[in-house]
Symmetry: C2
């Protein structure tokens, strides 16, 4: 039989557009004489729908959309994901379900058994885990159909006490299909291939894996759907970061084994692309989908002449088109000449729009207004933050007047240690670099400049500075970024203790100070924009920390 894998970009809650897209794919697959088309997990409503699942009306709309999809499934079968009601007396109200639709009718339903509830995942919030497992027979094949995490209860880290495939294999399937919604992180593609390959090897079955693609606010889904032979070898890999439909033949050979053949082999990345190239592609998709799915076109950002805002500006120009990006220079009395020159050079290189709005008169007005209260107290962080917040007010005023969305330009190193001004440079609709450490921002800048200079070399080589007081340098108050970022990664991504990090050879005082900074900045991060997630541990939904907690703070 001929199987189509549909790797599509859904929009959470947008039933009209999701249904239309799914039906168009079914029609395309019919034209290609496919017998079965496979869509990804919870495709009907998009993933993650979060607490939309708590609305009965929403569940009704999911079912209604799935029946509409079923009605076009004549001469083709399809697998779609949707939430369905748990009709048993006990347990949560919903299942995370895959419907197998044939001849316009729901022929089988498979519910997810392993519900991820770590990092960004909250599935046990909504769904009851399935405990009963059955294969689906179709056109002479017996399909072991599972949903994403169902194949992820690894031998090394068995988070769950059951393994659905151990039950399904008893029914002697000849092929596995797994539908997923597995978000991107720069190290995730290799882990995913490893785990799926191990399943294919362990159960000696070919495996079709269909992921969704596209960004849903902070979560970026990279696609990269996969096809394995029964020895766990990747025999095809769909493109990353874009929609695609691919076709395969599944045939039984003597002995009852099934083998997969296909005409067009997609590019299999030889040793996978570099982390930075993946991050670059992920961020472009994240920006593009944030704007398109929220119905906006035009981005604005403050351009300081430093590397962070330069990288965000270049990414936005690539994602949205330079004509849709407004870069605003907001110089103060502490802005150096090179900052302005570097910002202007970038604007020229990109061809984006720009304005210059000096902040001197505004900050002076604030200082004058506060003179009775501040009297002659010395210049300190209060005046530094007035500058940063004045810029935010000006940028937001431009948003309100002209319909831009403000892009936040803070990086992960700053967000981690609280080196930023709440309601100032921490503003924005979406944070582009909030999951990218400063050292990675440099790598991104060099990647952006791979063909020719886009980001001025001077923005890359000069010492980083917030320029909120004379001759300020980031290194006045923070360790050098290569040291800082390593400590942060050990603490944030790897959850190491201070003593473990010190044992790696880092200075005790520095490590303890950094961890304390991270923990005391929780109140700031709570109020910052959603952050495009590109790492295995981003700030935001995936990292939930007490604010007035008193641990290492």
């Amino acid at each position: 039989m001929k199987i189509a894998l549909a790797q599509l970009n859904y929009h959470v809650g947008n039933f009209e557009s999701n249904t239309k897209k799914i039906i168009a794919a079914i029609n395309a697959a019919k034209n290609n004489a496919a017998d079965l088309i496979v869509f990804s997990e919870l495709c009907v409503c998009g993933y993650p729908a979060r607490d939309f699942f708590e609305f009965k009306e929403f569940i009704g709309l999911c079912e209604q959309a799935a029946y509409q999809i079923a009605s076009v499934c004549t001469d083709i079968a399809c697998i779609v994901g949707l939430p369905t009601l748990n009709l048993k007396a006990h347990g949560k109200e919903l299942f995370n379900t895959a419907w197998f639709i044939e001849n316009g009718k729901v022929k089988g339903a498979v519910n997810k058994a392993l519900l991820p509830n770590y990092d960004v995942f909250d599935e046990y919030r909504y769904f009851e885990p399935e405990t009963d497992f059955n294969c689906i027979d179709f056109k002479g094949h017996r399909i072991a159909l599972t949903i994403c995490e169902d194949l992820w209860n690894t031998i090394e880290n068995p988070l769950y006490i059951t393994r659905p495939m151990d039950k399904l294999i008893e029914q002697q399937p000849d092929v596995m299909i797994n539908i997923a919604a597995s978000p991107f992180a720069y190290n995730h593609d290799e882990e995913r291939i490893d785990i799926l390959s191990n399943n294919s090897k362990q159960y000696k079955l070919p495996l079709f894996y269909v992921n969704q693609v596209g960004a849903q606010t902070e979560l970026i889904f990279d696609g990269g759907s996969l096809v394995f032979n029964d020895e766990g070898t990747v025999i095809d890999e769909l493109p990353y970061f874009k929609e695609h439909i691919a076709y395969y033949n599944l045939d039984k050979i003597s002995g009852g084994k099934s083998i997969i053949t296909f005409d067009h082999r997609h590019t299999i990345k030889p040793a996978h692309t570099s982390d930075i190239e993946q991050i670059y592609q992920g961020l472009l998709l994240g920006i593009r989908d944030y704007f398109s799915k929220s119905g906006f076109k035009q981005a604005i950002l403050g351009l300081s002449g430093g590397i962070d805002s330069a990288v965000v500006c270049a990414l936005a120009a690539e994602a949205l088109g330079a004509q849709n990006v407004m870069a605003v220079l907001l110089p103060s009395r502490f802005s150096s000449d090179h900052s302005i020159a570097d910002a202007e050079a970038l604007v020229k290189n990109l061809g984006c729009k720009s304005e210059t709005i000096p902040i001197k008169t505004v900050t002076e007005a604030f200082e004058l207004a506060l003179k009775p209260q501040f009297s002659n107290l010395p210049f300190n962080i209060a005046e530094e933050n007035i500058q940063s917040r004045s810029r935010a007010v000006l940028l937001m005023a431009m948003c309100n007047k002209f319909g831009y969305i403000l892009l936040n330009t803070s990086n992960k190193s700053e967000a981690a240690v609280g080196y930023g001004t709440l309601y100032g440079d921490m503003c924005g609709g979406i944070s582009v670099l909030g999951d990218v450490y400063k050292t990675q921002v440099y790598e991104l800048a060099n990647y952006i400049n791979r063909a020719h200079e886009v980001i001025p070399q001077n923005s890359i080589i000069k010492p980083p500075s917030a320029e909120l007081r004379p001759d300020q340098k980031d290194s006045d108050s923070l360790p050098e970024y290569d040291i800082l970022d390593t400590i942060l990664m050990e603490y944030i991504e790897n959850r190491k203790s201070s003593s473990e990090i010190i044992a790696m050879g880092y200075d005790e005082q520095v490590v303890k100070r950094i961890i304390k900074l991270v923990n005391t900045a929780e109140h700031k991060r709570y109020q910052t924009p959603p952050i495009l997630r590109v790492s295995p541990k981003a700030f935001g939904m995936g990292r939930r920390m007490p604010i007035v907690g008193k641990y290492l703070s």
Copy 2:
């Protein structure tokens, strides 16, 4: 035997202060000749510790603190809550555990079986559910010890497939003890009594229930620990919103039944206090603990002359002392005379500090700075927001200069429909009224004025206005608050659909517009301060909505 119930206020992650407090209670109970003292769920680290649980070092510190507590348990037994490692090969790494400590040693461990993972709860993120159940024998009694949710799998709404007491009852216990961390909502005390009473009735056993008290950022725990006889009647109820240790005698009578006697009966609220009085007490505790646990003393807020900021100011003065509250009047060209007079009257009534900082020069400086970009475009929301954001910059500058924490004064009705300025009046360290609808704010004002006028009558009776343009009224763009709040409550608290709300008799256009406003304001609420939770469905951790989702928006 004599049992002490310790209803204490812990601080998440603050092992030093939690351990000291627990040991002091043990010593007090020893002096009172108690045989057993019972503390609340996860008391060693405080609840909720959230992702602190992902740090192995944190788990080690919990165990270390519990052993330190055990070392003083001579001549007295104690029950303490802590996370412990799951030593089985499969499942999550931790259990949510109650240790029964006797003679300085851990005599028994009970793990929580039912893990709440709805609303503000994320317990399945960290813990493996227990499937094995055993009573604990102590001094001739057999105790069925459970943890919070373990008693909450109700007949009406059975979220879980097991019921721990159904297993424990087979071992013929003569008493139940339940340790909890059950957060406050104005309707929660009655629900809690109902559910616990039903357990006591169903299993025909007396029941001791120990809750924690105190606020952990947004979550307020109200205490109100309970004692039931074996017929499900409340025979004692500890105070709400404060720490308390109470003592009871548990004795076996003929037939093997246990009965509870005690000397001092605490006040049992006859028909429970009004919702508004509970909200008032909860908010006071929430403010007080936010400041004390984050190490701050002084609050600041902008005082507009309107009711919201007046109520927040009065609450802060009561919670922190008037001398620790700085009210700042920030009049603009659109501020009416009565606004300033009403604000000044409140300051006088409360005796708090105040400053006046007119914003005219600042907003003019912004408008001048933006003149090249805005040219002659008409005054609109951009200029309105400049006023609100200018106030925020001034208030935050005062925070940075003098060490205040800014109190947010937005109410739940505004937060719901997005009637507020991001980085303007939506700023603050903590939102005091973000879970209190406008109609409830009026009730709070009247409650605050119950003995004498604190909040000027004029602030209560005048039509609400943001005063961001001439003669603006809230009712220009929103329905009257009694209608608005009912629609919001049906949608937010009760998750009703628009058609269900319309069927209740509300105008279709109004209902649809309101729900759309709620859903499109998600991006604003994402960046607002933590909100003191007083209702069963507050914005924040307990309500997780997609931002670029397209559902009813």
